[in-house]
């Protein structure tokens, strides 16, 4: 194995670019969110700093840097300072396996548009997602404040609970990548993207994609699962004692996680960096990623933009869900539903394999949607019967 310096340079540059994309994405996602929220609520939103408020993130950053930073007297200082860092790092490194585009040639070497092309990419995602809980637990504990600690425990319990359904959603994509592939499925994200050349997995498994969306909302502590934002009723959450730049780091981690889960969702269910599945042959393939590698990041950006809009839309329109109902939703609705979906999908793939006919795969979306409809009817009936009860 030759480790020449160009290889190191390539790795370094790719990592740097990925970090810069996420940091820049974080800054402008805040602006995007504020503007979009304002539009939905018939306001204008920040539009003073620069044209269309384009310099607002810089103004925000300057404000946060110069804010007074308080460290309460009785905190566990080392962990208190480390906790925001531990929260931010997973949100950055998890993006390493996500392919941003195809490959291109530069100076005689093939460069792939992803930091790491792991064969166990999907497992890497679960590993980093499960480590992300530490920052929140530690922030709550080290603050030495019972409200912060309860908030930390609350958020961590929520993340751990929804992680199971998240893992099962990953499994859905891995199983679906075995469709029409005689070698079987793949955990490599690039191969999963390539497996969606003919059809997005979101079409085969629409309910899986929808559940993935809601589970990731809970996983990144976003509305309507944003317990840490509940200041009046729960005294905020794990970051109650944080101020200034340390608080900004938690904020940053949340927004970077939003971007990253959008990227993951797009990679697993919406064709990743590839064009729409029916667009491959348009204009003699001129719009295809196979022909022009630089279209990959462009398509990915457009898809992420739309995905993020859905997250903002949810925040603008739905009230926060009560904590016991949040847990019930995770354990009693999403988890069994995900298990059923995994079963249905696996059976669908096996039927296609045995009969050799692609028609059977359409049983998967039909059965999945039926499952979803049954569950919705159940929730609706239950909420009607006892309006303040548990789900």
């Amino acid at each position: 194995m030759t480790m020449d310096w160009t290889m190191w340079l390539e790795w370094f540059l790719k990592g740097l670019v990925m970090c810069l994309i996420l940091l820049g994405g974080f800054a402008y996602l805040t602006l995007y969110e504020r503007r979009a929220l304002a539009r939905i609520q018939t306001r204008v939103g920040p539009n003073r700093a620069g044209p269309q408020g384009i310099l607002q993130p810089i103004a925000d950053a300057v404000k946060l840097i110069f804010k007074e930073e308080l460290t309460p007297a009785s905190v566990y200082k080392t962990v208190f300072i480390l906790a925001p860092v531990i929260t931010v790092v997973p949100s950055l490194v998890i993006a390493a396996v996500i392919p941003l585009g195809g490959t291109f040639m530069l100076g005689g070497r093939e460069i792939a548009l992803s930091v790491a092309d792991l064969n166990v990419g999907v497992l890497y995602l679960t590993a980093i997602a499960s480590v992300a809980v530490y920052g929140i637990v530690l922030a709550g504990w080290s603050s030495n404040n019972k409200y912060a600690m309860l908030g930390g425990v609350r958020s961590a319990a929520q993340m751990i609970s929804y992680e199971i359904s998240l893992g099962l959603c990953f499994v859905l994509a891995v199983i679906l990548s075995a469709l029409g592939n005689p070698e079987g499925g793949s955990m490599n994200l690039r191969e999963i993207v390539d497996a969606q050349r003919g059809m997005w997995f979101a079409v085969y498994q629409p309910l899986g994609a929808v559940i993935f969306f809601f589970v990731t909302l809970a996983e990144v502590n976003r509305a309507p699962f944003d317990m840490p934002e509940a200041e009046q009723e729960l005294t905020a959450g794990y970051h109650a004692e944080y101020s200034g730049m340390k608080f900004a780091l938690f904020f940053m981690a949340e927004y970077q996680k939003m971007i990253v889960v959008s990227l993951i969702g797009i990679t697993l269910f919406f064709g990743g960096y590839r064009e729409l599945w029916f667009m491959t042959d348009w204009f003699g393939g001129a719009l295809s990623v196979d022909k022009h590698w630089f279209l990959g990041p462009v398509y990915l950006f457009i898809k992420t933009f739309i995905f993020l809009f859905f997250m903002i839309w949810v925040r603008a329109t739905w009230p926060r869900i009560r904590y016991d109902r949040l847990m019930a939703l995770g354990w009693k609705i999403f988890l069994p539903l995900c298990l059923a979906l995994v079963f249905i999908t696996a059976v669908g793939i096996l039927l296609v394999d045995f009969t050799g006919s692609r028609v059977w795969i359409w049983g998967v979306p039909v059965l999945s949607i039926l499952c979803g409809a049954a569950v919705s009817a159940f929730i609706y009936r239950d909420l009607r019967r006892k309006s303040h009860g548990r789900i």
């Binding site: 194995m1 064969n119 499960s130 530490y134 637990v137 600690m149 751990i160 070698e183």
Partner: protein, 174 residues
């Protein structure tokens, strides 16, 4: 000195230091954190050995699931710094005797076996493919299906046991 050796040496130092830190921490939370770091260091060892699947499983299961629950329990119980407790009288001699036996065994294996067998060749990139991962899963669900299922039933029993125990306590307090 190639880069892999440097990584190995640094990692070994980290692994040993975190293990010692875990042993000597007076605060249970710090001990748990050191242990979690140790798990991550071991996971990177697996990566160095060309076993990314085991590495990811190690992080997900140990650092991600088990240690987080440990931390949870420690924090909820609110453990203060440990008092220096008196050890049981027979504990010290037994520990010394056992560790001497372990050290002797390790030395013997190192001296006797390491010379006769070749150094274990590190698996090259050809092993680290999707194919090997598929083979692993196929083996797990064919040749080793019985142990696999027995293990899962064991875990299920442990889970049900925990639920039953906590339920009984609830009834008693009522």
């Amino acid at each position: 000195m190639n880069s892999e050796l440097i990584v190995f040496l640094v990692l070994s130092l980290v692994a040993i230091a975190t293990a010692l830190g875990m042993l000597f921490s007076r605060n249970a939370v710090y001990a748990a954190l050191f242990l979690a770091l140790n798990f991550v260091a071991v996971a990177i060892f697996y990566l160095l050995l060309g076993a990314p699947f085991v590495a990811m499983a190690q992080i997900t299961v140990y650092a991600g699931a088990i240690m987080v629950l440990f931390l949870f329990v420690i924090m909820l119980l609110g453990v203060k710094d440990l008092e220096p407790t008196r050890a049981l009288p027979w504990q010290k001699p037994l520990a010394i005797a056992l560790s001497v036996i372990l050290a002797a065994e390790a030395t013997y294996v190192l001296l006797a076996k390491a010379r006769t067998t070749m150094m274990v060749a590190s698996p090259d990139a050809s092993l680290n493919t999707m194919e090997s991962l598929r083979n692993l899963s196929v083996m797990l669900f064919s040749d080793y299906l019985f142990p696999f299922e027995v293990t899962s039933i064991l875990l299920l029993v442990a889970m049900i046991g925990a639920i039953v125990l906590s339920h009984r306590n609830k009834k008693e307090t009522k």
